[in-house]
Symmetry: C2
Subunit: 359 residues, 2 copies
């Protein structure tokens, strides 16, 4: 059904197999910093208009690959499609973040939650298949979802937050309700990722964007336990191919050992964690993905290249049993000059080849 | 000039001397969650009107001590008084955060920066003396400042930020300019804290509220190096009394060892760090302050008490050479029910006495 894969560098690094260079892709690589993305977005009328249209989603997913020799593509979608399918009514106001029409803050709203019929997310699976076909084997396609905790943050807050007051209030005051939300989310996310794999995703990533706002103890109980539940339910193989699973916790560096034991093949790190230190602790158990600060891309190309080298050098020379996927530590900013990405990708490829060739 | 100190529990814990209970105070304890604060704020007309008036600043500093048996008072002021005195024009819009009329983003603005005449901050030192007198020896008074990096964030961004794009762009593109800002800030902050000590502050705290947004490597170079410079220049004694110095880095848990070596007597921690693990790593070198998630205070009193016990238990029984000051991991929320603080303070005192009495 799909063309054979030509560049398996990303998948090999995820599985800690030798590669001739360090693979690179960028969180939110199909996005507003690209003028061609903004043009498609304009045609689509709205963000959800873009995400729910197979042709548009395919078009924007492939845009960054036309500009840059990236080693993976990632499905163009949003982390909040699952709660939207639960009937919470996701929308994006102009210039603002996501908003839900309904929020989940009381016993009745929690009781009403259930794993959505995956048919309501058909547009995502159709996009996966369409993108995989359009890629024509160039690079692997990554599927993704928000983590149960991260979805819960938005479902309770009703949108973004800077203090997570409402979701944490519910968690501390009514842990029973929070556990019920998280269990529903975990089952929904597992079904969602499995359907993406069946539709053609060759790796999947769980974004625990807000795990790092939790207190020690609460993180393990309310975030990591449910990511682990998802990972236990997500396929590790499909049609004879291993499907690598990536778990990214922004601000999760302090819990690296526990995160590395959650069942993922790859742990994503933000820029606060030293990659060399992370590798020393867990490098033989999981591959690592990260971790350049996206704000580096506002510096001139030579400074971008120097910071890219610093990240590669901090991981060190890849050896048997270790794996590194270069990425940012968070999504690329909409204000990024596209030529900074040219410098980044080129430097990752050339410097990582030099590191491997060094005596 | 000042009355003798009656409750030295906080100062003793800072210096890792035995205490009969764990001392407690709360970041932003004089604040909007208290109706009496809001009444004084109303009279003062504006936040800066409150902070710059000696009588009002004294009044609000003492308000939480009337309600709760806290073990320390903290000067009512703002972390941004120093850049305001540099001429940047600090103001607070209704319902918004701080704003500077002038920003520091280019060579000319950086060149124009200098350590301000401390006379422009006389209102702060007058407040310190007035509060110390009004305390009449009840509990010690803590002075404070923003760290050089944290001040720089606001000076470059012009206010709060959620991505620190402008300050990081300057840092990555023109590290020379950033180092010059930070050096001016460090000298200004040291002079400012020394003047607070001379005016009557019995301990001082450096708030590196935004150190945790930096990448590993950048944190050490642009935040910690300048906090260390401040601490090297701030008095350790005044009129025969040791002046404990606290360094708080929100999100700094990954760099705990390096922070503990920066010259402070006490390291403040946010809720992401396990206190027992922190104590195991650095507990014999510095005291630890923290680290309850302020959002716990939105739970019912019994849940507040349980979380307080969990924090005290995670530190464990204080022993010779260790010190713990109970605090939140960040400032108290304006939406906090005041009765939650009653439960918190009572539980810290009673449970920490039980821990010491346990066989």
């Amino acid at each position: 059904m799909f063309a054979p894969l030509q560049n398996d560098c990303f998948l090999r690094a995820c599985l800690r197999q030798p590669t001739d260079h360090t693979p690179v892709w960028l969180m939110r690589q199909a996005g507003r910093y690209l003028p061609e993305y903004r043009a498609t977005r304009e045609k689509a009328g709205s963000f959800m208009g873009l995400a729910t249209n197979t042709d548009y989603a395919t078009e924007v997913t492939l845009q960054p690959l036309e500009r840059y020799p990236l080693d993976a593509a990632i499905l163009f979608s949003d982390i909040l499609t699952v709660p939207d399918a639960m009937g919470l009514g996701l929308s994006f106001q102009q210039g603002e973040g996501p908003k839900f029409a309904k929020v989940v803050r009381d016993e009745a709203a929690v009781a009403a939650l259930d794993v959505p019929d995956m048919d309501r997310l058909r547009y995502v699976f159709d996009a996966v298949t369409s993108i995989r076909k359009a890629l024509n084997g160039r690079v692997p396609l990554i599927g993704f979802s928000g983590s149960p905790w991260t979805l819960a943050c938005y479902m309770v807050e009703g949108g973004g937050s800077d203090d997570y007051r409402l979701v944490k209030s519910l968690m501390y005051a009514r842990p029973d309700l929070m556990h019920r939300i998280l269990d529903v989310n975990a089952r929904a996310v597992a079904a969602y990722l499995n359907a993406q794999i069946e539709a053609g995703a060759q790796a999947v990533m769980l974004f625990d964007s807000w795990g790092g706002v939790l207190a020690d103890g609460a993180f393990q109980q309310f975030s990591l336990a449910y990511s682990r539940q998802v990972l236990a339910q997500v396929k590790t193989e499909h049609e004879g191919q291993r499907i690598p699973r990536i778990l990214f916790t922004k601000g999760g560096g302090l819990w690296l050992d526990e995160i590395a034991a959650a069942g993922a093949d790859v742990v994503g790190l933000d820029w606060t964690m030293n990659l060399g230190a992370a590798r020393a602790r867990v490098g033989d158990r999981v591959a690592l993905q990260g971790n350049l600060d996206p704000n580096v891309l506002f510096a001139p190309p030579e400074a971008v290249r120097a910071q890219v080298r610093a990240v590669l050098d901090s991981f060190g020379r890849p050896a048997a049993g270790s794996g590194h996927i270069f990425n940012l530590g968070h999504g690329i900013s909409q204000f990024t000059p596209p030529e900074s990405v040219t410098a980044l990708v080129d430097e990752v490829h050339s410097h990582s080849r030099r590191l491997r060739a060094a005596p």
